[in-house]
Symmetry: none
Subunit: 418 residues, 2 copies
Amino acid sequence: MKAYLISIGDELLIGQTTNTNAAFIGSKLTEIQLKIGRTSVIADDVDEVKKEFQIAYNTSDLIIVTGGLGPTHDDITLKAVVDFFDAELVLNEEVLADVEALFKKRGREITELNRKQAYIPKNAEPIRNSRGTAPGLYIEKDGKTFVVMPGVPYEMQGMMEKFVIPRLVEKMGGLSEFKYTKNLLTTGIPESFLYERLGNLDDLLGSAKLAFLPNQFGVKMRLTVSGDTEDDARTNLEEIEQKIRSFVGRFIYGSNGDSLEDVVSRLLIDRGLTVAVAESCTGGLISSRLTNIAGSSNFFERGMITYSNGAKVENLKVSEDLLVEKGAVSLEVARQMAEGIRAVSMTDIGLAVTGIMGPDGGTDDKPVGLVYIGICDDKICTAKEFRFGDDRLLNKDRTSQAALDMLRRHLLGISYDE
Amino acid sequence: MKAYLISIGDELLIGQTTNTNAAFIGSKLTEIQLKIGRTSVIADDVDEVKKEFQIAYNTSDLIIVTGGLGPTHDDITLKAVVDFFDAELVLNEEVLADVEALFKKRGREITELNRKQAYIPKNAEPIRNSRGTAPGLYIEKDGKTFVVMPGVPYEMQGMMEKFVIPRLVEKMGGLSEFKYTKNLLTTGIPESFLYERLGNLDDLLGSAKLAFLPNQFGVKMRLTVSGDTEDDARTNLEEIEQKIRSFVGRFIYGSNGDSLEDVVSRLLIDRGLTVAVAESCTGGLISSRLTNIAGSSNFFERGMITYSNGAKVENLKVSEDLLVEKGAVSLEVARQMAEGIRAVSMTDIGLAVTGIMGPDGGTDDKPVGLVYIGICDDKICTAKEFRFGDDRLLNKDRTSQAALDMLRRHLLGISYDE
């Protein structure tokens, strides 16, 4: 089965929007071993879209279309589908119920424009949209499969994961070749150091592949292993993963889609521990990441964003003398903040950060990128220095990651050092 | 002149790399008023590439190709160009000198593989590459223009800016039509409602274009206006923008690349006002967004993430009776939280949110997605109900956006209502 992706939208052609949908769909199809022959971007123009449908239809088995399904005048995809298949539009009660439910939930009256979105071509099966009003369309004709989805990335992604991928796997009668990919997620160690600690890669990997993909949260190692059978591939992968862990295990916080906050949350819940967070330079980002996790009220008690010195003294009982003597960005203040937030919140653990995110506020002595992270429980109360870069937003991301990793290591009893 | 962009590379098809080159080239061509008819992504396969060249050649005047020009085995673009134009490769001394100079600068010996990159088709003019070893190619034939560049974004961007764009403008005899695009950023109103409030779009727009681009933070309206002169185009755009603002002005928080936190920060700084934030359900996200702004310590005093009821009582002086009577997620508690955070922080404004982000914790009476936002200054103290969706992270984004927009409207004296 050979796939052809069509993205519709002037905003893609003129470069106002980068085509991330093609990358997402490409990677999802690749995961299920489908070959993508071609990707194209077409203007919001019915005739152009119909011509492109014909080219795709002549050369491919699976055609995936995104964009132009909204309720307004520049959304022309539905018209192109109706014309191309010469299919009339009929009201789909299931879709109408979905749209009505969505509006009811948001406490709004449904408009005529939205009600119109429940009309779909007669030859199509609707792909239900739990994240918006426009349904997707699934059409089979002459052995060819047409999938049409909205261009809004999170709506399209929901449809791909819940409907399109399972349906295609079913259609192919399951997967035939065995390849496993696992992402091992590290933080707190630069790419080149990680590479060196792994030693000779040929010895380590054999025929497997390892890619290093760095960003501000750490380095993702993508390990890809093949095998003749499913068991073979899995066993090979596990063996190599164990070797990798023997070299750099302390830096690996999770795998595949894990976020560090997922991992830390599971550890806190497993141990029945609670945490409170005092943030200066990260301005709420650490707490926001922890509360991204469903059920965070079980382990997250409160957070304080003590941006001003006054707030540090009033809310966290940091000593005014210490603030004057050492400065707000210091090892000692980070420790007192962690101690203070733990005491006022009566949690098991207190976590605190203070630092200089930039672009201004740095000195020779305390440059932009300098950060101190403190952590305290009923036995230990300590802090550690970090040095990050010049970019304010990247520094916030890096600091939040380092703080959550200190919490992870604390919970696992791993040293904070490299 | 109509353009056709071709990107070559398996990594784009399988979604390992997002096609940012197409967006960059699209925006550059749009700036000089060239129309892009189509963008495609093709596999590293000589026959496929040649077929695509033919299609582009038949339908367009300007063909821009990126990728597959490197020195390794999977770089097949040069071969496709040679075949397509039936042109022999000849050594270009200028390019050879560039490659030799680059290697000398990096202190490395030039390899045979790199020397080979100085051979270009006889009918091509080289596009010199100051950032890498592969030259670009500029070919004119039968009134059609072919531009071939490496896929490395930084190298391609240098060539576009230094060579391709100036050459195309020269070829067109300067710019003849003037086009302006402006993005008007709205929040707090769904796409379909916005559309309806604008009335008859043909009357409003004339020959201008308006596109609606929604995401969880709001709907972006992209307005594009042309004119015979630069002044004409600008005046037309301003007129239409004023009309749009007369219909939906209160929902427009900014334009082009603004974020809502940029806008709110500027308003706070202009007015010399300070704010403190009390967050329950958003868990620090609102404070984190405000502190993304450099210099936020001038207006952001502190934040409290009062996740537990205990924290609401202790830190914000919310009444325990009220929490029992109305529940933590209620209009009254949101208002008391805003009042409380303002009082303890001694700021001009207090902003507070409480809600149910999901996936759990909803009831018939108080479903997932229910949010209350409170805002207080020395004169007004009020709260408003919102209803969002099911997805926890999207709900956090939406709630933070709604809260910052309430703050914006408060600062501008605009009603909070639709």
